[in-house]
């Protein structure tokens, strides 16, 4: 359908684009010699391994089963022998159980059966659970749980905003796999029983907008370039003008939000029976020789991905998994990719513009950009004094979506988000 202009939410920031890899087609990277798959690939409880050391597994075979409601299945991304199941250091410095599979180079597949035309909503939901689908935007919430909303849903909103700088993986997917994405969206719509599909794309990706305009059942909304446009509540407001009430979920206003990368995974899971074993990752930043969009198998060591992109420069000061605004800094390149890692950024000192914090000068710029209309400086003030209830009351910290816009604009370089997270953690402990 012809594109329509989206609404804009109040406040927010305008970030530099830095999407250097936007024009680069997705390159397929060969599977690693040893794939090490974490058992906690998404949000929630770690899954429980169902294979043991010495077993031979095929590509797509279930190797670790979800152990609760908020937990996801993990499948082998290569065929070969399970060589180790052991706790190892993960990207952020903690410890997780990893299943190491030695690649035998045969790539024998053990996929699920493709779903037919007559599949019911229940079948689609089950398929999302079986295939281990998670929200691939970064949070990693299990898709199957999302597809069973608490209240009736009438609209499916697809998040094609990709508002973070550097990241281009969704952009490339939307150009190169438009057809698969649209089919994936239709499967999601069937699973939810809705026929209103809206895709929101930021105005800096006119090529993607043009691609989706050719489909009659998809409403394309051109969104203003504004951060955090990809935030769930902001995206829902800008595409449908519905406001998600404080403390409520999108389903309470009849909306379900899915990421474009998840749509591709859904399409493959339904049509090919292929579980989520690979994803596109953007490697960018001034610290890498060549920025690229790479299709990698889950469990590929980050160091080999960097090597695939020509290697790292010496002036890298920070490694980031995900986007620069909401991703997390990682301790090294030893760990492996997960279902949620959409970006690998090698940032130099010039890009991070990190400097020591000075006195808060009470300029109120953090409040000016807060998309949730909170008072971040009050949160910092009360949290530093140890008064977390005050931070909740005067700063509204519990409504924070942690987009980092406040810390981005702060002229005093105050650690605003650290304080917000501290206050949230302390409040959660009490309640």
């Amino acid at each position: 359908m012809k594109k329509i202009k989206g609404f804009r939410f109040s406040r927010g920031v305008h970030l530099p684009d830095r999407k250097v890899a936007a024009g680069k087609p997705i390159e397929v990277m060969s599977a690693p010699d040893v794939a090490s798959l974490s058992t906690s690939m998404g949000l929630g409880k770690p899954s429980e391994p169902v294979v043991s050391v010495g077993d031979r597994v095929k590509m797509g075979q279930l190797i670790s089963r979800a152990s609760g409601l908020i937990s996801v299945n993990v499948h082998a991304s290569v065929s070969g022998e399970v060589v180790a199941i052991s706790p190892k250091q993960n990207a952020t410095g903690g410890t997780e159980t990893y299943i190491d599979i030695k690649n035998d180079g045969l790539y024998e597949t053990d996929y699920l059966d493709p779903l037919g035309e007559d599949a019911s909503a229940e079948d689609y939901r089950n398929r999302a659970a079986e295939a281990g689908l998670v929200g691939m935007g970064g949070a990693g919430f299990p898709t199957a749980v999302k597809l069973a909303p608490r209240s009736p849903v009438d609209t499916l909103v697809i998040n094609g905003a990709e508002c973070e700088p550097y990241l281009t993986c969704d952009h490339r997917l939307m150009i190169e796999h438009t057809d698969e994405l649209v089919r994936g969206m239709r499967y999601f719509a069937k699973a939810l029983g809705v026929d209103n599909i809206i895709i929101g794309i930021e105005a800096n990706k006119p090529d993607c907008i043009a691609k989706f305009e050719t489909y009659d059942d998809i409403k394309v909304v051109e969104l203003k370039k504004q951060y955090p446009m990809g935030g769930e509540k902001q995206l829902i407001y800008c595409t449908t003008k519905r406001k998600v009430p404080v403390g409520k979920l999108p389903s309470d206003v009849g909306v379900n939000v899915q990421n474009v990368a998840t749509c591709l995974a859904m399409c493959e899971a339904v049509e090919l029976g292929k579980p989520l074993i690979e994803r596109v990752i953007t490697v960018a930043g001034d610290g890498v020789k060549e920025a690229k969009n790479v299709l990698v198998k889950m469990g590929t060591p980050l160091s080999s991905i960097v090597d695939f992109c020509g290697g790292a420069n010496d002036n890298v000061v920070k490694l980031v998994s995900g986007g620069p605004m909401m991703g997390f800094a990682i301790v090294g390149l030893n760990s492996a990719t997960k279902k949620t890692s959409g970006g690998l950024l090698l940032l130099t000192a010039k890009e991070t513009a990190e400097s020591s914090d000075t006195h808060c000068l009470s300029c109120g710029k953090c409040a000016d950009v807060c998309p949730m209309r909170l008072m971040p400086m009050n949160t910092v003030f009360y949290t530093k004094a140890g008064d977390y209830e005050g931070a909740a009351k005067m700063g509204g910290v519990l409504n924070c979506i942690e987009c980092g816009a406040c810390a981005y604009v702060c002229p005093a370089k105050q650690p605003i988000l650290q304080n917000i997270r501290l206050a949230k953690a302390e409040l959660r402990k009490k309640r």
């Binding site: 530099p16 410095g93 513009a353 000068l361 370089k413």
Partner: protein, 369 residues
């Protein structure tokens, strides 16, 4: 890639700093400095220099003492100069100088003589501003009242004869004397209690709005008279997004319109009341001070509207220049505005107050029964 930084998001920061903001304010004040030299002579530059130097020295000395510099003098000095010192005291010092007169008129035995402002006035004022109004409250961003503004009020009340009688200084000290476009009888201006009353008195305007706008032949504080210079600074601050352009305009418009209303809706009073006195300078450079103005938009609008009403009202009631007093008063109300003007988060739902109503209704029914 040997040493990696691990910290929480966001991993990119905007290229901005407190220093950069303060330097922007200094750049915005430059036109006023130039205008002060043109209209009030080179001595005004000396006042500015004394004030700025004292303010900066006060902050550095205060910081050194509070950081116990006798333990490691050089290290502390380095830290204070390169990490702590953010030019905000330089801004305060310069603003204070710009709201002082260049000299004063003293009448003895019927003869009026004109003198330069003693050097100790900006010196004492700067120490008062930085040490008492700013550093004692915790330094940058923690001050309750605008340092320069409060110091000016302090000087005005303590040295009224020196700071409060600047009439005739343009004609005496200025490089450009008298009005440029509309030459008038200067003695007539001087005879009034203040330029404002002289100007508006007897239903006759002695200074045209154009003179007021350019600052030619207008007596007053050295940085306040030339409105062109102030507007240039305002434009720079607004373009650099240091301040929001609409806040000073709310203040100025409210003050002008309320003055018009007080004069019985005579709109000829609009331009003179907006362009005279320290209103414009106060609105652009002093009321917008970060730490002493509210944080949320609604509270800010209330703050600036109150300032405008107070300014016009007090001016009408006293016939004096009251901008600095108004700003001081509203500065004191800022914490209250911040606390009691609620800011609704995105998606805020008004709590449903059904229960008390029902109880009341049922109570009323019971009462009837």
């Amino acid at each position: 890639m040997s040493e990696l930084l691990v910290s929480t998001s966001p991993h990119i920061r905007k290229k901005t700093s407190t220093r950069r903001i303060m330097i922007d304010v200094l750049i915005a004040l430059l036109p006023c400095v130039v205008a002060s030299v043109i209209f009030f002579g080179w001595y005004s530059l000396a006042i500015e220099a004394i004030s700025v130097a004292t303010a900066a020295a006060t902050e550095i000395i205060y910081a050194m003492i509070s950081k116990k510099c006798w333990k490691d003098f050089r290290g502390t000095l380095k830290y204070v100069l390169f990490h702590n010192f953010d030019f905000s005291s330089v801004v305060s010092g310069l603003i204070l100088a710009l709201i002082l007169p260049v000299g004063y008129a003293a009448t003895e035995g019927g003869i009026t003589s004109y003198h330069y402002l003693p050097w100790y006035i900006p010196f004492i004022g700067s120490i008062f501003a930085i040490a008492l109004c700013k550093m004692l409250f915790g330094g940058t961003g923690r001050n309750l009242v605008n340092p320069a503004d409060t110091a000016r009020v302090f000087l005005l009340l303590s040295f009224t004869a020196l700071v409060g009688s600047c009439w005739g200084t343009v004609a005496t000290f200025g490089l450009v004397k008298g009005t440029v476009f509309n030459v008038q009888d200067i003695d007539n201006v001087l005879s009034g209690a203040t330029p404002l009353t002289a100007m508006l008195g007897n239903g006759k305007m002695l200074l045209s709005p154009l003179d007021l706008f350019l600052g030619s032949g207008v007596d007053g504080m050295i940085g306040e008279t030339c409105k062109v210079a102030i507007l240039l600074g305002f434009a720079y601050l607004a373009i650099r997004k240091v301040i929001k352009w609409y806040f000073p305009l709310i203040y100025i418009a409210t003050a002008g319109l309320f003055a018009v209303a007080l004069e019985g809706f005579d709109f000829t009073f609009f331009l003179p009341s907006v362009l005279s006195g320290g209103l414009l300078f106060g609105a652009v450079f002093m009321a917008t001070d970060y730490s002493t103005s509210p944080k949320s938009t609604l509270a800010n609008i209330i703050y600036y509207v109150c300032l405008g009403l107070l300014n016009a009202g007090l001016r009408k009631a006293t016939g004096l220049e009251v901008t600095s007093f108004c700003i001081l008063l509203m500065n004191c109300l800022t914490p209250l505005l911040d606390r009691y003007i609620p800011r609704r988060p995105f998606g805020y739902v008004r709590p449903v107050k059904d229960k008390p109503k029902k109880e009341k209704a049922s109570a009323a029914q019971e009462g009837k029964a």
